[in-house]
């Protein structure tokens, strides 16, 4: 999964940064949101979809179609976004886990 912010549309509210501070950040000069990960780890898929749906100006677009993505993380009962982000960070520090796609 990839996620992009439409920087013309961005309302600079920072809502996405509050939801997933490790995935989104605000540009220094004007507060416009940026994505700071090249690819969204599977554990964060549900949280990123949530952040996209919660953007006050609908500026976040989720591109689902990565071949080989593990969709298990999009289960109905997802952890809170920030919690999922911490878990994802742990997964990346422990590449021996079973959630990696490569």
């Amino acid at each position: 999964m990839h996620v992009v912010v439409d920087q013309d549309l961005c309302g600079t509210t920072g809502q996405c940064v509050l939801t997933l501070p490790g995935t989104f950040r605000q540009r220094e000069p004007d507060g416009v949101a940026e994505v700071c990960v090249a690819r969204v780890p599977p554990a964060l898929h549900a949280a990123v979809r949530l952040a996209a749906s919660q953007c006050p100006v609908a500026a976040i677009q989720v591109i689902e179609s990565d071949a080989g993505d593990d969709e298990r993380a999009s289960a109905e009962l997802a952890p809170s976004p920030a919690e999922a982000e911490r878990h994802a960070a742990n997964d990346q520090r422990n590449p021996g886990g079973h959630d990696g796609t490569v």
């Binding site: 600079t12 605000q26 220094e28 000069p29 006050p56 809170s80 919690e83």
Partner: protein, 429 residues
């Protein structure tokens, strides 16, 4: 109109919201509106929407199906729009602009309101909170009543703004005194006399900012005013004189009364629901849940103050909103809509536990900061002020009680206070 009559029909919801009954408790009337007249049209023209889903839709469609008012259109609501200084300033604020002008102006200022910048203000805000509570303590401990609104809730945002703007505290208190009068003059129900008072106050605020801009030019400092003056002087196409003054004036209008009201309501919630105090005694996640629930239950700005103009005929709940109609949203009602928040009149911080700010566990939007392109610029600043103050008040004065009933401002639009007298409850030792 009493409650019995409102169950049959309501001619003008804006007038009803200004009635003494609604000033005291507007929520029964808002419930009636949601159930019987969710797409209300006032005789003077504006529509008023009261259901959560409709409000969200309008706010999301602002900039698209809805636009800001054209220069002549303010005159429909405000016959004196052409001659009133307050209305002229209002017409130039961010909230009245559409993209791309809105985008250009908002990005100039959003640099200073990023989540990181606001987080950097936290220690300064905590210091102000501690100093104000220290200031209240001796009188409270002597058993005297203290007006928490005037001694704490209002001074906190005023002092925070003094730092942000880089102006002396006493000057900011002087400006803050006038803001209430300006807000009342801008209400759709305001009399000519009130608008005249608002205009006189706006003139003095404008004159103050004119001098301030000169001072920041000769003595630049790391503050918002210096930054905006720099943007204006670099390129007046980026920020005109009028836009600069309106921007500063608009931030004061949006930032004081609303933040103070949220703090007042948080204290009232602490006193009314002692069984919910545990939210304030644990970690930041619990504090956030408590604060969001206060904001949901008591939206300081009850309906949208800016007109949203329909770009085409729009049908909503069987009612046609004609093209060019002025549509307002009653966000305080959307926050109490059981379709979005079950058992909506119950104070229940658990609705916001572990969620992103402004989102319930059911993924419904808490509307008090708005939604869409005009989402409150100062939302995070307000949240940090609440998070840094409400638990501290509880911790410092655990036996706080009302000394007498609070006095509300008689406003149809803002749910704010004039006084909130408190004292310490004597608990045998």
């Amino acid at each position: 109109m009493d409650a019995q009559e409102t169950t049959a029909t309501c001619r003008d919801a804006f007038a009803e919201l200004a009635s003494p009954t609604c000033i005291q408790d507007p929520y029964p009337f808002m419930r009636w509106l949601r159930e019987h007249d969710p797409v209300h049209r006032a005789p003077s023209g504006p529509f008023l929407l009261s259901r959560h889903a409709d409000i969200c839709w309008v706010l999301e469609a602002t900039g698209d199906a809805f636009r800001g008012p054209a220069p002549g259109e303010l005159a429909r609501d405000f016959p004196r729009a052409a001659t009133s200084l307050s209305l002229n300033l209002l017409a130039s604020t961010l909230a009245m602009k559409d993209p791309p002008t809105h985008t250009r102006l908002r990005r100039l200022i959003s640099r200073d309101f990023t989540i990181r910048q606001i987080d950097n203000l936290r220690p300064g805000i905590a210091r102000i909170v501690a100093a104000r509570l220290d200031g209240m303590a001796p009188a409270l401990e002597r058993g005297e009543a203290v007006d928490l609104h005037r001694q704490f809730a209002l001074p906190l945002p005023v002092l925070v703004f003094a730092e942000l703007f880089g102006i002396p505290q006493e000057d900011m208190f002087g400006l803050a005194t006038g803001i209430g009068a300006i807000l009342e003059g801008l209400s759709p129900q305001a009399s000519d006399a009130r608008l005249a008072v608002a205009d006189a106050t706006s003139a003095s605020v404008k004159a103050y900012f004119g001098d301030l801009i000169q001072r920041k030019r000769t003595d630049p400092r790391p503050d918002i005013v210096t930054m905006l003056v720099g943007a204006h002087d670099d390129d007046a196409d980026t920020l005109s004189d009028t836009e600069l003054i309106s921007m500063l004036w608009g931030m004061l209008l949006g930032g004081f009364a609303t933040t103070a009201a949220a703090i007042d309501h948080a204290v009232l919630a602490m006193l009314a629901y002692p069984e919910q105090l545990h939210w304030l005694q644990g970690d930041a996640v619990g504090v956030k849940a408590f604060v969001e629930e206060v904001l949901r239950c008591e939206a300081p700005a009850m309906f949208s103050s800016i007109p949203r103009i329909a770009q085409r005929d729009i049908e909503l709940a069987g009612v046609v909103i004609p093209k060019n109609a002025d549509v307002r949203v009653l966000i305080a009602s959307g926050n109490r809509d059981p379709e979005a928040f079950p058992d909506p009149d119950r104070f229940e911080p658990a609705r916001f536990y572990g969620t992103s700010p402004g989102m319930s566990t059911d993924e419904k939007i808490m509307l008090s900061f708005g939604h869409g392109i005009h989402f409150c610029l100062g939302a995070q600043l307000a949240r940090v002020q609440l998070a840094e103050s409400v638990p501290r008040i509880q911790e410092r004065f655990p036996t706080l009680a009302l000394a007498e009933q609070p006095t509300r401002e008689p406003s149809a639009f803002l749910r704010t206070f004039r006084a909130l007298p408190v004292r310490l409850h004597a608990k045998g030792g």
